[in-house]
Amino acid sequence: MMNPELATREVFWNIPHSLVWVMYLMFVASMAVAAYGIYRRVQIWRRGLSAKRFDRPLERLKLLLKHSAAQQRTVREKYAAIFHTFIYTGFIVLALATTVVAIEYDLGLPVMQGRFYLYFQSFIVDVFGVLVLIGVGIALYRRAIVKPRKLVYTDEATLILTAIFLMALTGFLVEGWRIGATDEVWGKWSPFGYLLAQASAAMLSRNAMRAAHFGAWWTHAVLVFGFIAWSPFTKMAHVVFAPLNIYTASLRPTGAALKNLDIEKAMESGAPLGVKSLAQFTWKDLADFDACTECGRCTGVCPAHTVGKELSPRDIILDLQKFMHANPRAAFGLPNGNSSNGNSANGGDQAASRKPQAASEALPIIGALAATSPAALWQCTTCGACMEACPVFIEQMPKIVDMRRFLVMEEADFPDTMADAVTSMETRGHPFKGTQSTRVDWTEGLQVQTMAEAKDAEVLFWVGCGGALIERNQKTVRATAQLLHKAGVKFAILGREEKCTGDPARRIGNEFLFEMLAKENTEKLNHYGVKKIITSCPHCFNTFRNEYPQYGGEYEVFHHSEYLAKLVDEGRLAPLEKNDKKITFHDPCYLGRHNGVFDAPRQLVQIAARNAPIEMAQSRENGFCCGGGGGMSFIDEPKDQRVNQERARQILATGADIVAVGCPFCTTMLEDGINARKGDRDVRVMDVAELLWQAVQDSTTNGANKN
């Protein structure tokens, strides 16, 4: 047996010295082309507006480790978990192996030696090469046989997989024929290469293998360098842009994803309000387009898309990406350079005479592309499922709201039924035109004080329009108030002084109206010296928590489920009687996914019932919207495309008797959805506060009876 300490192999075996420079030339050329490909994209991003995305480097590094290195989101999906991990880790190992060769040969440092050569450079590299082949095989199988609807089927995608397959295959041929032709003593350390060598030896002479090796080596080199050069012009660019996009992702909860808009400044400068063209996007938005890997997960989880609507977040990103590269200057209102521009509808002459940075003259995007039609933009519930699903942290939803802002504020173009809600928010401070309830009707018979009356309120109970003005939800806020009373919490309400927080206005795109309401509300809250807020509306909760601080409204905010759970923990509420019904819990998007509150409402279900809630297939971060967010409560959905009915179907499928909720919009949307499917089975919709109140009440009455 030979001494393993001496194991190594000759670099450039079988490649004449006189030809080695050709490989280096190819290397430099491919790197130059790749660098240009990246530079070209980055140059376009620089045409976007500023965005602060390089602060807090430690947190960003952590994000990078979790989602770029460990790919925690990528592996959430069954197929991708396997094939992407195989290809991704294979690429890393093979790139390391190449680096080892470079250190050995170009730097002249003997590293590719001995046991390291055997364990890593031979065995591990060989295994990971096989993993790449298997990974590509699975990916090709998925594209050719499984054909999930969310994927984009392009020649580019097929070509990329084919190229990777061929690169790995030629790599093995090079290895195998080298082992075969040289009778390499360490050959068995490369098991698959060795197998290939054995198989070839049965058919080919040593010289033939040597000749074949020469051919395979150059083919491999051409493929690899060609692939490197080509990658930045394809979705393979994600190898570079995905980590960058993750590093520069928003560090705030997705509930805080909407951008601030300086309306006054836009008025002065004449810039459009909202996004009319790519020129109003930030560089990060533009980088998002380039980071897309076309995995389609966003569209796959989009509730609007699921029920058959037009909206497809994936296509918004991809259409805008294509548009950006087809019109790299005109899309930003820049005069065209030398490059001819077939897409410029305004003609070259006119475009050339434009002043640079004349943003308003940039090519408009809304309605100009299939994916950005106003109809599609008006289907988004802003549930944020797309953002949560994206492995590379693209922010799809805020871009939709950006475009809505333009439609609403510059064009006054929005669905008719939404107009009533907006007008009502403007004149009445709530979106429910025609409601026959007042903000204090629900307090009838309860001793609920207003902030103006109460002298010693520790906490403000912000009721919300959905709680106070929709009769069904009055039961919920009543139950909450009664629970607070019972626990001895000193609270007060604003009563008639309360106004919509502006959440629907903001998500519809009326930033102006949102700002007015935000200023008015924060002024009022600060006037009363409010420090703590409990609210039973996750939309209000999100606005207080993520959006009011910039208007000088800094409060400690609790969703009623959090506060009630705390009261139970502290022993201030003692539910005894338990509900033995089967209960499932529907996560409100603005409580769960957007703000990470998943456990408190579940805890209440658990407390009020005998069992933990039955989990739906889509719950917690992956919860499926009720259809009521983003102003969609105020839209008439087509009968056969209703998000709430799809969620109702999922709820019925659990076999639960009760679906617990924590949001007034979810309550009404789901009740409607379940009613529409009444034929199937009856399921009650109950807020967690109602469940808890029932349990608390029962304990008292039963206790009384026993006495």
Partner: protein, 269 residues
């Protein structure tokens, strides 16, 4: 053919407030404002929308006039945001609820002060008092013809082609200008939502303010009002719900009796 249009609008208490919240002051014979907002009367907005559509087709100018308290400026700003060209606020400095004739007199004086006009459009009635006399009285004051309950206005050969609603259907009217028309609502004149940019711009636009004295009317007489019109009583009708079962031996007998009761009950109303 450019048309010089004047639209008269009125600001009223939001009619959409929950009925439970609605109170009247029987003494003053006035609705109590309470927490309600002030809004532009919907028929006035229909009139403005009709005017805007007419101007979009024919060109011209829209001047919006309102006689009201300080708060009326909001209604006029909104009209400017909807893209009226000019707005005139005639300050009502203390006439609690002016009678339609004095309103018509004030508006007529303002319109005369403005000079030429082709057509004046008003809502068919206001959502608060619902008297519906102002358009007719204004035409009388201005000495021009009036057409009421119009839901469509188009440019005709030598004037306007109007479509007006009647009790039995509609009439088409060819009218020569100048004239006064009252506008009723229709699916075609749902008021537009102004663009946010225009809302913001509306606060920077000039707004003409006139007092009664500026109009050259006898301010004291206007403030005193006209005696033909008086609110005698103001109250919220009490809703009564009576449930009654009809009986009878056969279905026919019950139906017969049911019909009989309907005749009796409706006859007594």
């Amino acid at each position: 053919m450019p048309v010089n249009i004047i639209v008269c609008v009125k600001q009223i208490l939001d009619p959409e407030i929950p009925s439970r919240d609605f109170r009247v002051d029987a003494e003053q014979r006035e609705a109590v404002r309470g927490a309600a907002n002030l809004v532009t009367n919907i028929f006035c907005e229909n009139a403005l929308e009709t005017a805007l559509q007419l101007k979009e087709k024919s060109g011209g100018k829209i001047t919006v006039i309102s006689y009201g308290a300080d708060s009326t400026e909001d209604a006029l700003r909104k009209a400017l945001a909807m893209k009226a060209d000019a707005a005139i606020h005639i300050l009502n400095d203390g006439q609690a609820h002016p009678d339609p004739l004095s309103v018509a007199q004030v508006l007529a004086a303002a319109i005369r002060k403005l000079g030429e006009f082709d057509v004046v459009m008003l809502g068919r009635e206001s959502g608060d008092w619902g008297v519906g006399q102002t358009a007719g009285l204004l035409a009388e004051e201005l000495g021009v013809a009036a057409v009421a309950f119009v839901d469509k206005v188009e440019i005709g050969a030598d004037g306007l082609q109007l479509k007006r609603q009647t009790d039995v259907g509609y009439e088409r009217v060819a009218a020569t200008m100048p004239l006064v028309i009252s506008i009723t609502n229709d699916e075609h004149n749902v008021p537009r939502i102004p663009k946010t940019r225009d809302v913001m711009m509306s606060f920077r636009q000039p707004l003409t303010k006139w007092t009664l004295e500026d109009l050259g009317v006898n301010a004291a007489e206007v403030r005193a009002g006209n005696h033909y019109y008086a609110v005698v009583d103001l109250f919220i009708p009490v809703q009564e719900l009576n449930c009654e079962f009809v009986d009878g031996d056969t279905l026919e007998a019950r139906v017969e009796k049911f019909a009989q009761r309907i005749i009796e009950v409706t006859g007594s109303m």
